[in-house]
């Protein structure tokens, strides 16, 4: 069923990715591990903007930018240059940001996502390198400010700004794009998405060819979806009332889930871009081959390989590759047990249980899952018991064998079940009659009695079959 996009929604995203896996900042040798350091302890003349300081480009930052570009199917530019973007703000130590203007390092790429109606290709317009400003802490409330505190630890961190074409047609697609992008970046190991400030999103949206609104201050993928949903509603309301949507920048209030107008003079920006005289041009296209070879297997490729190598379903493969560590975990397990069964247990069960508890796959050991799957396959425990084992592993630790023993989850042998069925049928003649007279619930009752007798260790599906066959 094709997505008709009756509102004519066009969404473009600008994503700032902080290359926090680099050891040093974009233009100086200050360490990037500032997240739990006291303020202003990861600064030097360069990132503090002291007079006389000069920038020097971090080679690894350039290579990271190129790798991201290649992973997004972009073209690498022949010659690129840094530019100064001139504006005043307290978090900007030099009164300009060193960024890129008309020849970004990579451009013209594409990323495939799952759109509303099948695969959708989102074009990447460009990605360029720039530096992060410092961090502001506002004292007091916004209208009765007692001042601003500034920490420049973040100043000078390498950023990659990725800009899409407005090919996204719904908030859901926006969310999926962001998830896919983060996934790819995770595979490239260019950033740690868990650290604060690692990924910041600005969204541009227009309806029915009207003026576009820019939404700033989005700090999560869910937030992006919510902000866009709100904005669509707001704009539709305006249009319904016959009003025009003006081109403006709006601020997303995460707490209230609304966008508000930013009516301040700072919006009159004339950045007066000119090439940074303190930095010379980069001609790095010839490093492309080497970097292509260094690229790891990316999510789409890994998905295809898992499907063909392990004969698992597309749905399972997708779920597994959505997190690199889980995908790696899966392959370790699949090397020891039936891959298809492993896929079911990891993608359908384990992943959900981890999410529910806000845990990562690090909370799990490969051996435990291997043992679990083995026992299930050898019919030693029921599926239900297996789920219980997983939950216990995550909640209280321990290991698979221990838990099965302690909780007495070993599946009862068939003759024990037979015996229990005999006993129950013997004790519940009325229920049998009720069932034969058409009362379906009676069967459930009988199954329940057998489960009670076997202290839950029987497989209810099998018990049901046995009883049904017996009674007939």
């Amino acid at each position: 069923m094709s997505y008709s996009n009756t509102d004519g929604i066009m969404i473009g995203l600008e994503i700032h990715v902080q290359l926090n896996r680099l050891k040093t900042k974009m233009f100086c040798g200050c360490s990037t591990q500032y997240h739990s350091s006291p303020p202003n302890t990861h600064v030097c003349p360069v990132c503090l903007g002291l007079p006389g300081a000069l920038p020097v480009i971090n080679q690894k930052a350039v290579e990271s930018a190129m790798k991201v570009g290649l992973a997004l199917n972009c073209e690498i530019v022949e010659q690129t240059q840094f530019h100064r973007k001139n504006y005043y703000y307290p978090d900007l130590p030099k009164g300009y940001q060193v960024s890129q203007f008309d020849y970004p390092i990579v451009s013209n790429g594409k990323v495939a996502i799952e759109g509303e109606d099948g695969e959708l290709v989102i074009r990447i317009r460009r990605a360029h390198m720039e530096e992060d400003p410092g961090k502001l802490i506002h004292m007091g409330s916004i209208d009765k400010s007692k001042g601003t505190l500034i920490d420049y630890n973040r100043s000078g961190m390498a950023l990659l700004e990725i800009v899409t074409e407005p090919d996204i047609r719904s908030p859901k697609e926006a969310r999926r794009f962001l998830d896919k992008l983060r996934n790819i970046l995770e595979y490239l190991d260019v950033f740690d998405s868990d650290l604060e400030g690692a990924m910041r999103v600005d969204a541009n949206i227009s309806l029915q060819g009207g003026d576009r609104t820019e939404i700033k201050n989005i700090s999560s993928h869910k937030g992006a979806e919510r902000a866009l949903l709100y904005e669509i509603m707001r704009q539709k309301n305006l249009l319904r009332r016959g009003e025009i949507v003006t081109m403006e920048t709006r601020h997303f209030d995460e707490a209230r889930g609304v966008t508000t107008s930013m009516r301040s003079k700072e919006e009159e920006h004339d950045y007066r871009y000119f090439p940074e005289p303190d930095l010379v041009p980069l001609r790095v296209k010839d490093r492309t081959e080497k970097l292509l070879q260094e690229l790891p297997e990316l999510p789409d490729a890994k998905k295809e390989r898992l499907i063909s190598q392990y004969s698992i379903s597309d749905m399972h493969a997708k779920a597994l590759v959505s997190n690199l560590k889980i995908a790696n975990f899966y392959e370790e397990v699949a090397s020891e047990v039936n891959p298809k069964v492993a896929a079911t247990w990891i993608a359908d069960v384990l992943k959900g249980e981890l999410n529910y508890r806000d845990l990562t796959i690090d909370a799990c050991k490969v051996e435990d899952i291997v043992q679990l799957v083995t026992m299930v396959m050898e019919n030693k425990i029921t599926d239900r018991s297996a789920v219980e084992v997983i939950r216990t592993l995550l909640d209280s630790g321990g290991n698979c064998m221990e838990i099965v023993e302690k909780k007495g989850l070993v599946k009862v042998e068939d003759n024990v079940v037979e015996q229990a069925v005999d006993d129950v049928l013997g004790e519940n003649k009325n229920a049998i009659n009720d069932y034969l007279n058409g009362k379906e619930q009676s069967l459930n009752f009988l199954v329940g009695q057998v489960m009670k007798k076997t202290r839950g260790r029987a497989d209810p599906m099998i018990v049901r079959d046995i009883i049904a066959n017996r009674i007939k």
């Binding site: 930095l279 041009p281 980069l282």
Partner: protein, 93 residues
């Protein structure tokens, strides 16, 4: 030519407060210099490339190795208004 409105706009862009009573004076001063710049129009540069850098240097890069940073004290040394290790300034609004 630079008008008084231009002076106000540029002085905001440059964050240099200029008393509105002085806008006219500034405009005059700036225009006399700008007049002098106009003679560049006499030159035909349609086939000329701009020179952004005088030398042929390209690809000046450094390796991703950590260098010592300032101590917090050194960083804040030249600032009179500080608090708890932060630089302190008035609010934005």
């Amino acid at each position: 030519m630079i008008t008084e409105e231009d002076v106000e706009r540029i002085s905001w862009l440059a964050r240099i407060e200029i008393d509105s009573s002085k806008s006219k004076e500034y405009a005059e001063q700036l225009n006399s210099i700008l007049d002098y710049f106009q003679q560049l129009e006499e030159l035909d540069t349609s086939d000329i490339e701009p020179t952004y850098h005088v030398d042929d240097l390209v690809n000046v890069l450094r390796s991703d190795d950590i260098k010592p940073s300032f101590t917090q004290e050194e960083a804040l040394e030249n600032c009179e208004n500080k608090k708890d290790g932060y630089f302190k300034v008035p609010g934005i609004m």
